[in-house]
Symmetry: C5
Subunit: 324 residues, 5 copies
Amino acid sequence: MIVDCAAYADGQRCNDGPMEIDHALERAADDDAFVWIGLHEPTEQEFAAVSSEFHLHELAVEDAIHAHQRPKLELYGDTIFVVLKTARYVDSQEIIELGEILIFLGEDFIVTVRHGEATGLHDLREQVESDKEMLKHGPAGVLHAIVDKVVDDYGPALEGLDEDVAEVEDEVFSESSTNRAERIYRLKREVLQFLKASTPLSEPMQRLAHREHPLVPEEVRAYFRDVTDHLARVQDQLEGYRDLLTSVLEANLSQVGVRQNEDMRKISAWVAIAAVPTMIAGVYGMNFEHMPELGWTYGYPAIVGLMLLVCGTLFRTFKKSGWL
Amino acid sequence: MIVDCAAYADGQRCNDGPMEIDHALERAADDDAFVWIGLHEPTEQEFAAVSSEFHLHELAVEDAIHAHQRPKLELYGDTIFVVLKTARYVDSQEIIELGEILIFLGEDFIVTVRHGEATGLHDLREQVESDKEMLKHGPAGVLHAIVDKVVDDYGPALEGLDEDVAEVEDEVFSESSTNRAERIYRLKREVLQFLKASTPLSEPMQRLAHREHPLVPEEVRAYFRDVTDHLARVQDQLEGYRDLLTSVLEANLSQVGVRQNEDMRKISAWVAIAAVPTMIAGVYGMNFEHMPELGWTYGYPAIVGLMLLVCGTLFRTFKKSGWL
Amino acid sequence: MIVDCAAYADGQRCNDGPMEIDHALERAADDDAFVWIGLHEPTEQEFAAVSSEFHLHELAVEDAIHAHQRPKLELYGDTIFVVLKTARYVDSQEIIELGEILIFLGEDFIVTVRHGEATGLHDLREQVESDKEMLKHGPAGVLHAIVDKVVDDYGPALEGLDEDVAEVEDEVFSESSTNRAERIYRLKREVLQFLKASTPLSEPMQRLAHREHPLVPEEVRAYFRDVTDHLARVQDQLEGYRDLLTSVLEANLSQVGVRQNEDMRKISAWVAIAAVPTMIAGVYGMNFEHMPELGWTYGYPAIVGLMLLVCGTLFRTFKKSGWL
Amino acid sequence: MIVDCAAYADGQRCNDGPMEIDHALERAADDDAFVWIGLHEPTEQEFAAVSSEFHLHELAVEDAIHAHQRPKLELYGDTIFVVLKTARYVDSQEIIELGEILIFLGEDFIVTVRHGEATGLHDLREQVESDKEMLKHGPAGVLHAIVDKVVDDYGPALEGLDEDVAEVEDEVFSESSTNRAERIYRLKREVLQFLKASTPLSEPMQRLAHREHPLVPEEVRAYFRDVTDHLARVQDQLEGYRDLLTSVLEANLSQVGVRQNEDMRKISAWVAIAAVPTMIAGVYGMNFEHMPELGWTYGYPAIVGLMLLVCGTLFRTFKKSGWL
Amino acid sequence: MIVDCAAYADGQRCNDGPMEIDHALERAADDDAFVWIGLHEPTEQEFAAVSSEFHLHELAVEDAIHAHQRPKLELYGDTIFVVLKTARYVDSQEIIELGEILIFLGEDFIVTVRHGEATGLHDLREQVESDKEMLKHGPAGVLHAIVDKVVDDYGPALEGLDEDVAEVEDEVFSESSTNRAERIYRLKREVLQFLKASTPLSEPMQRLAHREHPLVPEEVRAYFRDVTDHLARVQDQLEGYRDLLTSVLEANLSQVGVRQNEDMRKISAWVAIAAVPTMIAGVYGMNFEHMPELGWTYGYPAIVGLMLLVCGTLFRTFKKSGWL
């Protein structure tokens, strides 16, 4: 689906609503003007017109339609092809929802293809259109704006993860100490997936920031350096979570084990306490003819008193050892 | 066994059925023509004719006959020697079945040697023959087609693994929580084996994609870059599985331990409950002459009632603590 | 908040109290003079004057106001932008408190922006002002003094960690052997955070030490090499703690498990000892008509003696096996 | 001990039996001829003659006599000094027995020094002597033959390990599930030792294969590339074993734990079953005067029946839960 | 404290006892002569004379007095500054005792500063003085002699560790299987500390061996290469120990756990055996009026026989399952 299509010149949008692609191209034929076409999960047919117009490489086009790529930046002749992964944290399910944005960048055009719902580009376009300076940098300026937005959107996703990691930590070390293995494992899984979506982007951004490329003007490069820096922080955090979750999984095992063992010890201690009067009663339940105690007037209360005494002593001893 | 042998010129197969090798070679002596010989687990004798014809290096020939190589790309003079590992997931046994394809590439010939059953090349040859463009790139075009097919075939193998990993996860965190250590271990073993078969291919593909080599035309290089990218995704996935399976193995240990401890706690709690009436009964089984309760008319039901009361209280307490 | 502002020339402060920024700048227009402006958590408005005066890059300005950066060094045109993380160990809570210092360095100015409380720069300024040699090196000399102070302040933080790690080790291997999982985990968390704050600083310091930069005079470079060396030691230590804490967490699990098992064994052994007289008593509590022992005069004491003998033997056996 | 000494010219051995060193050297003074001296654990005295003759560097000589080196390749002036580790699997003890071969290579001589018994060089010499082509490459040809043999001999050692790893896996996951920790640990230890013996060889072999050196003719280089490839496979395997053994050690812990817990659960379940009739019997062993059931004609069989019923029900319940 | 000070020329010591520094310097003003000053934990005052004489850099001087550096090599103008860590194994405490040697090397002087007791330099000086060849290489020859000695001294420390690691292994897998967690952990801690003291030395030694430096003559370089090789072996070993100790810690946990579980199983089995006669006795202790067995003449011995039979059978069954 073609979401929007417009030509930009002198840092301004040339038309109000979406333009026909043909008109936009005509308009962009001028110096310093460029076209920005935005697509959302296009069919092969929808994309064919665009790709033939800009001579996009067949391999990149295939990637753009089928998505599920790794983040990357490829050069096909004069065209730059960039794949980005968007991320959104769905708190109710504790999962990272990934989307994909694919970008074709030429001298006077930029084509953006979006898959999945995570990050919309509509607001971004409005924002870019209001920033004359950025628009003047041409397609590279738009590229930076998109990459910056995608990486900025990693922030809230990280915060979502952060909260859940903190929550799970508290649960593991709380008094109740129920088994949190599954939740920890699922969180770790999300962290690994997020890492896979963000880490490979680092290298291409660095290339944009440090190597000369005719499509990326000198003054835009510093902005890509800034993106690189953001990405490095995202990775630092994610790798931190991975480490922490691994440790928490181990700690969880230990906490649950300790707690269960305490329960067992408590039950066993009670059984041990009960075993003593049973034993004493057994002795006085024997049928010997000559057991003088049995004839005593206060034999019974004395023995019951003995039982209580022994049990009480045991109870106090166990209490002191922390077994009860 | 020689499976097929044909000469190709101007993007077309020159003969319908398999040709004699000699005829094919004569035909390929022309400009722009080349021979494609396909072999399946050839004996030393069968291979001798081919290797002497194309002056293949003795070390490469030895590798080609005995197989069990690592994926690699070697240059012997003007010949490129490539080793590929094919992979197929046998779901019934949950194993990755590996095969091997060895390729000799010269200016006007390509010799493919297949070991094992995993990936057949017959369909591929038909497909290549129908793609005039690729054929026009000569042996390098065929090489790409084969590598591309092999790496594409990793896809279904990965999906098979993915399903089994998800299955094992669900089993581990399910209520029943039986011990899944063996299955997890076997899966991990397969993942490691798959990694060993695919990871080393990355470097040679990158060399084909980025360095100039007279046998690989400029326009084919982008295609090898695409293969590199596919391989990177395969590795990302496999390393993800390795990480996850390691965590699942730990989680499994914890889950099974927790479950077994719960069982023990339950049994012990019941034993503890039974110990109380036994103790009380023991007391009234004592043979003291002076035990006033024994003479009471309602002594027996009162004591039985007491037993039931104590047991009931214990039962409720244990239930509340989650021990029963 | 502007904390201090002064111009320096010939290794001396030109004014006693804080100067107006404008005056300072006029003064610094001379050769060899420079301005040092110190800010503490400035608002956007407060910073605007400074940043426009020195033509600071908008990206760096944004970083300076919002803080929460990774340690880094960036070049924006003729300006060097450095981000440092300060660290302080709060022993009562066993946490590393991080602060941030951001520095803009130009030919004749240095602007320092401090966030958080960890490391104050007031004492440092006095110290720098009393060191004529360093001041003569201009802004780069001041930069070194700050970086040196920040890295030196890592020392006490490390010592704090060191003590707590040693403490936790002793606790884990002590007789009492209570569960220390949470404390170990929290310490590890702090170590990871500290690593994240200090490790990335290494690379920029090395760049200052080894690459030529017009703002950093030859003779100052050796000092940055020294800082690099300090940082390497800090990292060695932190990575050591990470390793040790991981091992301690494991050892803790093992120690607690062993201790709890010992308790269980002890209780079970006592239950086993009690089971024997209960069994014997049970036998002589049977109501058979023909049980000759029951009629013996010394049957009762003999049997009680037997019980004591058996229990005593069991007790000694268990003692010898280390079960009691 | 001097094992053999011979001069070779035109791809042929010049003498049948061992020659005197002096004669051999005279013979080798001719063009294209070279000497091969084979030593086995030489004393300092035995080696002095050789080392002074060929001006071997004192550091290399020291290494050659005392052995226990890492695999390495060093250049001392015009002499190449190579250290190789041989490996042999002693199945009865499940250990890797390491030996050492040290080689001095000059323009017209090769001196081999062998320590330990693992790989003999006698058969190898015969084999080399029968391969005229290789001999024509001079000392470098012999060097390749030795390295190739040493690395080839890693194969059987790996197979031995492979079998034992597979065996230990089967044991761990078998029904009997006895504790295999020691065996796994010992195997891992051997794997680590083997890795240490083989991994460092990789880098020098790559240097021989890729960099020009006057002593290694162009056409021999491809053969060293082949050795590199073999070594890479050996390492892949060993690292695979290391990974697997780590996982097996964990799985073993889990398997043994699970099995032992099952035993405990079974015993406890039986104790629980026995507790019920004991309790019922206790009740009817009480001495109350008014217990109507005691007077019933069928009271006894009814109660015994009740006991059997309860025990049977418990038994079936436990069986269903998998506790028995 | 100044330990010794002497001038050397033509491979000989110029004076017998320690010289005054001033005299030594005069003497060293000649060509080819140099001074070697040996200090032990000097005070700032003691060191001031030396450092001003040779124009040592203030940063290096600071390091030399306060010690606790990482091993490193720095160039300050024409002076080389080297920091070495000495290691000694104190077997009684199972710890690695680290010392420090700091060396300043100029064209005609070498200053050695020793901290801690580990490695004395007195014997070394005598040894160097008796080796004319080495002395002729000037300060660089002395530097090599010291480094070589320090690294050689790592050998006995490694052997000490090796023995203790082997001992702990045997203990863990022995029959008695007491908990060795603390000892293993302490050993690992020492290994990590040793690694930290030796690993960073590798890189500077390689620089001395491979890069040209005016103070290090060509023929001395090979000797530093040898040191590099030694260091590599030390690291291989230490990393091996680290790996092994990690595995042993895990194995220890498993061994102790298994052993304790066996104890528990044994105790539980005995309790289970005792439960059976208790139950039977309970049945015949019931007070029913109609229990025909009670009247039988041989009822009592028959029941006791039954008890023995059941217990015997249980005993044999448990024995067979390996529970007793």
